[in-house]
Chain length 471, copies 3
Amino acid sequence: MAALVLNPDRLFPADPGTRAIARRLYDAIRDLPIISPHGHTDPVWFDRNEPFGDAASLLIIPDHYVFRMLFSQGVKLEDLGVPRVDGGPVESDHRAIWRRFAENYYLFRGTPSRMWLDWVFSELFGMTEILSSKNADSYYDAIGEALASDAFRPRALYERFNIEAIATTESALDPLDHHRAIGKSGWKGRIVTTYRPDAVVDPDYEGFAENVAELGRITGEDVTSWTGYLNAHRNRRRYFRETGGATATDHGHPTATTADLSQAEAEALYATIRSGDFTPAQAELFRGQMLTEMARMSIEDGMVLQIHPGAHRNHNSMVMARFGRDKGADIPTQTEYVKALQPLLSRYGSDPALTIVIFTLDEDSYSRELAPLAGHYPALKLGPPWWFHDSPEGMRRFRERATETAGFYNTVGFNDDTRAFLSIPARHDVARRMDCTFLARLVAEHRLPEDEAAEVAHALTYGLVKKAYRL
Amino acid sequence: MAALVLNPDRLFPADPGTRAIARRLYDAIRDLPIISPHGHTDPVWFDRNEPFGDAASLLIIPDHYVFRMLFSQGVKLEDLGVPRVDGGPVESDHRAIWRRFAENYYLFRGTPSRMWLDWVFSELFGMTEILSSKNADSYYDAIGEALASDAFRPRALYERFNIEAIATTESALDPLDHHRAIGKSGWKGRIVTTYRPDAVVDPDYEGFAENVAELGRITGEDVTSWTGYLNAHRNRRRYFRETGGATATDHGHPTATTADLSQAEAEALYATIRSGDFTPAQAELFRGQMLTEMARMSIEDGMVLQIHPGAHRNHNSMVMARFGRDKGADIPTQTEYVKALQPLLSRYGSDPALTIVIFTLDEDSYSRELAPLAGHYPALKLGPPWWFHDSPEGMRRFRERATETAGFYNTVGFNDDTRAFLSIPARHDVARRMDCTFLARLVAEHRLPEDEAAEVAHALTYGLVKKAYRL
Amino acid sequence: MAALVLNPDRLFPADPGTRAIARRLYDAIRDLPIISPHGHTDPVWFDRNEPFGDAASLLIIPDHYVFRMLFSQGVKLEDLGVPRVDGGPVESDHRAIWRRFAENYYLFRGTPSRMWLDWVFSELFGMTEILSSKNADSYYDAIGEALASDAFRPRALYERFNIEAIATTESALDPLDHHRAIGKSGWKGRIVTTYRPDAVVDPDYEGFAENVAELGRITGEDVTSWTGYLNAHRNRRRYFRETGGATATDHGHPTATTADLSQAEAEALYATIRSGDFTPAQAELFRGQMLTEMARMSIEDGMVLQIHPGAHRNHNSMVMARFGRDKGADIPTQTEYVKALQPLLSRYGSDPALTIVIFTLDEDSYSRELAPLAGHYPALKLGPPWWFHDSPEGMRRFRERATETAGFYNTVGFNDDTRAFLSIPARHDVARRMDCTFLARLVAEHRLPEDEAAEVAHALTYGLVKKAYRL
């Protein structure tokens, strides 16, 4: 069986001279602590510190990167144990699920999932052969045994991974019980929340009216008025900062639309939205206005504003009806930024006290729109390659397309943006390697002296994320 | 004069270590048979097996890749012998046409046409000097002499090219006489047709109403009803399978729009279309509905559905009026896939029994739209880089942008998509070399073990195309 | 302090074999004269030949590439000496401005500005250390001293830079006094103007009506009629040719829209535009029609038609209100060419006597739209990578995406498009190096023989620009 080897030079360019430069740059930053300023790990893990389950329940069933690829090649989601909306039967034999995954592991060749998984198998579980149908059982057993040990509990892994801080993401209505409990526990890990108000900002969100009513209840503000509604956000943002250590907000809108309405216009729009009788354009305008309101509050309270636009959610109606949201059927769409962001940026983009981190699923916007915008507006910074583009080639394209106009210092380091906790070191390592690879090319082509490249590598790994996210 | 040399390492990366890997990967697949599942060779060639004409009539006059480049630099199409719509005089001295081509051969530097033509000149005709005005006549004579020999008849070339199967493309109304004759001839070459119903599916197609009437006549179905019209397609698809060996259909629409109308809506739309009094939006909707109908029939009969959207046909009104269609004036347009394909994919995309091969002329869709769609839907596979992107850099971009999200196994190998029969081995060879080049980089960067890369190279060259096209 | 070294192999690929080829190609063309067919240097420099000012007034205050990056990182434009619209106070201590720039010089790592500036510092001013806050003063003094010397007057630099011809850009209403004076001066430098009629062609231009009236006055034509208005353009184009040596016109429109109206339609549209009561669509149509009129005049008088579409001007309302136009807040937008250019190209694009040079800020159009259009239409040529894309990676993308379809000979060499006179040799040098780098890869991958690559390198540097711009 084929040996599983993580070559120390992986991802570095093949040219020996450039590779040597990349290795030197990387060696100086490889052991820096991980700061994970945006992601979706579950705070209950760090609160209760209970063991994770088995290989399938940890690595397959919840990971849409993994099961979407198997589904695309004809494996049924039921056979991978993905729960059905109607509670109907799905595969409950986790070893059988693992075997299905193992026999299809070749499908992941050339994908980042393969790199992350191989790292997890090799570095965390000590596997020495590449996963295949032949060793599926021994993998399953070894992983299960390790996960049952104390060394694999969430807090132990947090420490082993050398994490300095990690952000989770909670709904604006979340009581943050786990963050509070972690804070009181005396554990020194830093688990901060992020204020994600989509459910009370997006009129098209399921249960929007009830969500806003709930927002009023928990904040004691009169959300029937525009002013009260905004104050409820202020109240809640403060709660997220004080109880959950939040330094950032996050907004997942279908587009990057922003608006800059007058007070009277905004009040009238909010009344229309509250009536429930609004057009799609009005919903879009309201979401856009709320981004500008959030920017205004960020100037008041110092929280970083993150915008993640451009995903067409739940594209596959069949999968949505049977399995629900987040089942690997979200597809990027073309996303326009220049006109969309102008209302917000013209109003607040010149204020250096504000930090907006913009993400994209549309790589074409890097050189055409986002780098020129970030290369002008003091408030705007470029988030790292996101989701489908969180990959070696995606990172290469980002640096190649964004750097010449935005420079390095209008970017903010890496986000893993994942709930796959075990893969977090692997993901950060890929980013570090690819940044060093890009810098090594600049050095080898005499476009940047190596000592300056080393400073940049440090900034991309550690300095910029700390500064941008105030962590 | 400059020597014409096809370097055995051509297209491989310059870095010596990576090149050695590429060479090893390529050596193992270079001699695999050619499967050409989509193209435009003329079945009459293989039926009658008559000699091709001279160098100009074979390589210049019918090849829009060649004459469009000469036209772009001021050579008149008349002077290249391209026939006029009005039958007016054009250059009839084929040697003069060849000389014009030869003296402008430098214009093709850096283009795939140059690589294909050099291969044809060197490998098939034994030329040892690069074509120029100085050796134009000796080229012309040598090529003419070779083409008159039995070794250059179509069947002999098919065998020499090591073709295992090749697909032609015929209109839904074509009687397939040549395919029938080839089938009866006892010759062992495999020439299969492809069902291309644009003329009876696209309301904007010239003569659409008459074409549909003709479809009714040859199938015996009542095409005045929606049901009869669909049955006529079923009938014709069966004829294409039984008489022409077809395993696929092909659809060249201006956009990727699909629709999923109710039976009643579809009947009403068909009636409107038949009336001849329809809007552009109704024509678009009808084309979109017919893609979904074709998918439904593909699930019934197992034929592969190919979609080739996004060409703005006949952009140059002057050239269209004087020389007609397909004269190098088709220009790609931006093409949206996410919303466009949703009706079809939500309806049938989760069925692993269906295979849809999607092509694009808009490379931006690779990483943003097509790879995420193909990396989710079991029915959807990515066709290879097409037309303007059937080139070394086009292939590189395709693999770099699609692989990390779609993997290799949601792609379907190479299509030459050409009527330039002599260039077919050269085109497949470019694809094999570029795939091995991409894989060699993954190996050199320790992203994929070499034994797995070798398996992938075999799949990309032979396995995936056989499986996807059921050939 | 770190040494400032311009490595002779800068920008060449790291692979030693490929680098050696690039060096050979470059050595053969590096000393060819500079032809600068499109740019924004000020003719008064060459007329009066007065010394430039100090380091800040020459290199910082007027250079939006430089101050936009500093602004993006929180430096106020006031503190960089950028003049305010209201004439209010800004930093007037140029040494202080220079120090601010120096201490932030690290922000330019990885940008073309850094490469250009390092060249200027090293090659022109003899600096031997990289600029930093520590040596800011010695830089400022040394640059100031040099600029006061005769060797740094404009005409001396023109000669030192080995410029064969340079084009400036003037409004259609400009009297061209400096060009006339240069012509009479007996100096042998070739400073030609370019006809830029935006102010009298774009109905949305500030003061359009007055501008058109002024056009009538200075030409003696009756601009109240469509015919008279067109004759005024003819008159003015002749003046630009005869007085300013112009060989080209230039058009900076928001989109690439063209139109091909009948005489009657055009007359009616002109009357509507003149009335001042027009819609945005009518303004767009008028601009589009004027491009076609300009093409018609170009066929008459031989002037090259340049189109620079796709910039969203003055995106930041705050900066526009306080500092005015051209302050680094112009942002590229997605730009459609296929439909937009069809009216013009179908009418005149097949005429080899016409040369249209098309530029883009939307790199996605290279392979999808522009290369296919330029690879067909005899009149259409591709301008070099522009503005944000005038950079090593931008040039690499341009050649990789455009060459396989358009070839090299449908491109027109390099434009520096700058008013930063001192950087012109550095900019041309980057283009020469990147073209040789691209060609070296083709040679190393056995896609083009080296002797042919050398011919192409010469054409890209010198031959094509002379031919396209008739200089």
